[in-house]
């Protein structure tokens, strides 16, 4: 096993209750079935989670994974994931970041944490693995925690920590790596908190070997050519603006769609409340990149408000903050939007989920379903930034009305009652980015049925039109299907198309590759030969996609065991099916349940899942993962 290139070859298992630490080699057949990283994590989750238990009970398993590409020089080979049963929905939750690649250098592809420590602890992993006391860190925010661990251990340690939100198990709780990079969505910080695990600090001296270095080196150059060299212009814009690029025309047309809890469409002048020239001249201080990526779409920015005003903060996804606060809650101006982002980073909370929960509260207040007595005197309104920031604190500390919001958009309305569910816009508890009344797309459809904290980026929007050639060479579609999809996406079926794009994205996550559009410009056949040269395992594009399909199957089987059926997949937030979207001169019908259901049938067919309950059919089970 140790002879395979790319893989560290080992899984580290830590039982916090029994204080047991052990390592196990990854079985070779798991690698051929599920590739690595996310795929292996799903297999571990399926085998080790206790069915029927609540996500915040000690029986839940929290699994970090880094695919075989992570830690190499392939551009964008940085993507690590964490999975667990999520407290947001009770099904599998996933979250990713490009900054925990150090996992590979401590000698593990996956790290599985089980049980609950009897007091706050952190994990210190270098040449040894130690469970250390974290009583003095409990209560600290993620910045203070990271700074304290850096002071104690040294800055060579990568620190993944939770803040008060994770400690108090708010479902919006994230895990923050090195003070800025987030495992943002799906409440993985709450799962970590439920285990009394404050932080993981890792520093590795191990190395990653390469089966055929000469060939690998040539192929890395080829990947660099396709993802970086061939599209310098796009890269420059991306580096300058990062995900903020979604704010400026023409992208804003499919940029932040939701506004004021989906009651309106983003007004065209919203970007003017956030002048981009000011961002460039006064706010942005530098570029930040994930491990191994020459693009650097993240930013170092100046703090404009608060106790660290004038200091710097690195941010991963600035447009996520925009969705959460500028769009959902109508907070205006850089000062307050950035302050909201900063609070989220420090408290350890996801921008989008936190903003969505607060926008729900604002609408309840405006509709007089709740009042000052419920909010401890806070007067909530669109754009009331101080109140939004106070609610963020309350959610993280489990206080006041924030304690209810911290239960999320699925459980929260049940606690509030008074028909408040009408205003809760989510898919099985997860906040979503776009409004399906305005336009249904493959990525939005996927988000609505498979919401779990990760999502795929619509392929091909790196400034290039989607062509038949792209679908064949990149998504691996058979030519006749690609022809149909490109000439008539509706006729082909956007749900059918979603399956191909999902598999592609999952393949990226299993390999450990960023799926930003620039990286999607590398051909499938190149990914396959890169894998071959790195690991020494024979590979082709078709096999990679088959494995990704299998990863979707096991993910589905986990959820099925937890009771997920077609009914869960058909859930559409009440607002979307009962209200028209009339705003900014546009008028859109509610989503038709029937046409959504037809999409679902189409999707199940393409996946080969049972049409009545969405179960993975026996025929798919020849992979032997049960």
């Amino acid at each position: 096993m140790g002879k395979l290139g790319g893989y560290a070859g080992e899984i580290l298992k830590v039982n916090l209750k029994e204080k047991e630490i052990c390592t196990e080699p990854i079985p070779l057949d798991w690698i051929s079935r599920f590739i690595g990283g996310l795929g292996i994590s799903f297999k571990l989750a399926y085998d080790n989670a206790c069915p029927g238990k609540d996500a915040l009970e000690p029986e839940n398993v929290l699994i970090f994974g880094a695919g075989p590409f992570v830690g190499t020089l392939i551009p964008g080979a940085c993507k690590t994931t964490v999975v667990a049963k999520t407290p947001v929905s009770g099904f599998l939750g996933i979250s990713g970041t490009g900054h925990l690649g150090m996992l590979k250098f401590i000698g593990y592809d996956n790290l599985m944490i089980t049980g609950k420590a009897d007091h706050p602890v952190y994990l210190k992993i270098d040449d040894n693995v130690e469970i250390c006391d974290a009583s003095d860190l409990w209560g600290k925010d993620t910045w203070e925690t990271t700074e304290a661990l850096w002071q104690k251990l040294g800055k060579q340690y990568v620190v993944a920590s939770i803040g008060p939100a994770g400690e108090n198990m708010a479902v919006q709780a994230s895990i923050i790596v090195n003070k800025y990079s987030a495992y943002a969505q799906s409440g993985m910080g709450a799962v970590m908190g439920s285990k009394n695990l404050k932080a993981i600090a890792i520093s590795g001296s191990k190395s990653i070997s390469v089966a055929d270095p000469e060939r690998f080196s040539e192929l890395m150059d080829k990947a660099y050519q396709q993802s970086i060299e061939n599209q310098k212009e796009v890269i420059n814009v991306f580096r300058e603006w990062g995900t903020l690029r979604a704010m400026g025309p023409p992208i804003s047309q499919f940029g932040p769609h939701e506004y004021k809890n989906y009651s309106e469409i983003v007004p065209p002048d919203l970007p003017y409340k956030f002048p981009l020239d000011r961002f460039m001249s006064e706010i942005k201080r530098g570029d930040i990149s994930c491990m191994g990526c020459p693009i650097g779409c993240k930013h170092l920015i100046r703090l404009l408000k608060g106790d660290r005003v004038g200091g710097s903060m690195a941010v991963s996804c600035l447009v996520g903050g925009f969705h959460g606060f500028a769009a959902h809650c109508a907070v205006e101006g850089w000062e307050d939007a950035i302050r909201c982002d900063e609070l989220c980073n420090r408290l350890g909370m996801d921008y989008l989920s936190a903003g969505a929960a607060i926008s729900f509260a604002i609408e309840l207040y405006r509709e007089k379903i709740i009042d000052k007595a419920d909010t401890d005197g806070l007067e909530l309104d669109w754009g009331a930034a101080k109140e939004v920031q106070e609610l963020l604190r309350q959610m993280a500390f489990g206080q006041g009305f924030g304690k209810i919001l911290g239960q999320g958009l699925s459980k929260g309305p049940q606690l509030i009652g008074k028909n408040s569910e009408k205003y809760a816009v989510h898919t099985r508890g997860h906040a979503i980015y776009y409004d399906p009344r305005r336009a249904m797309s493959p990525d939005l459809f996927s988000d609505m049925i498979n919401a779990s904290g990760d999502r795929f980026h619509a392929p091909g929007w790196a400034g290039k039109a989607m062509t038949k050639e792209f679908l064949i060479k990149h998504l691996g579609m058979p030519p006749d299907q690609a022809d149909h999809a490109v000439t008539d996406i509706k006729g082909y079926g956007l749900a059918r198309f979603a399956k191909w794009a999902e598999d592609n994205a999952t393949m990226f996550e299993c390999l450990g590759q960023c799926q930003m559009p620039m990286h999607q410009q590398v051909e499938l056949s190149v990914w396959a030969v890169l894998y071959e040269a790195l690991t020494g395992i024979k590979m082709n594009g078709e096999k990679l996609l088959q494995a990704a399909g299998r990863v979707w199957d096991i993910r589905r089987m986990f959820d099925f065991r937890e009771g997920r059926t077609r009914k869960d997949d058909s859930f559409i937030a009440r607002r979307f099916v009962s209200e028209r979207l009339v705003s900014n001169g546009e008028d859109h019908d509610p989503v038709s349940k029937e046409s959504f259901d037809a999409l679902l049938t189409e999707y199940y067919k393409e996946r080969g899942w049972d049409l009545t309950d969405g179960a993975v059919k026996q025929v798919n089970n020849d992979n032997g993962f049960v």
Partner: protein, 77 residues
């Protein structure tokens, strides 16, 4: 002196670690990726933009790290 012909502009550093990964891959006998064996070390340092960049003793000034830095943080002096 180690890396003395290479100028470090830490304020441009994005923390991508491509310099360290390239140094280890192209300079180690076994052609491995390793942060421990790289002769250039990048660590968080908020007093100095966001990262600190340093050469180790055994840097042979081959310039491979310079070639792999896309952010202008490493240039020839």
């Amino acid at each position: 002196m180690a890396g003395s012909d290479i100028r470090i502009k830490a304020e441009n550093c994005s923390g991508c670690l491509r310099c360290s990964l390239a140094c280890s891959f192209y300079n180690t006998r076994d052609r491995v990726f390793s942060l421990a064996e790289a002769q250039i070390v990048v660590k968080p340092d908020e007093s100095n933009a966001w990262f600190n960049v340093e050469f180790r003793e055994d840097c042979i000034v081959c310039g491979i790290c310079v070639e792999h830095c896309d952010f202008g943080a490493l240039t020839w002096a």
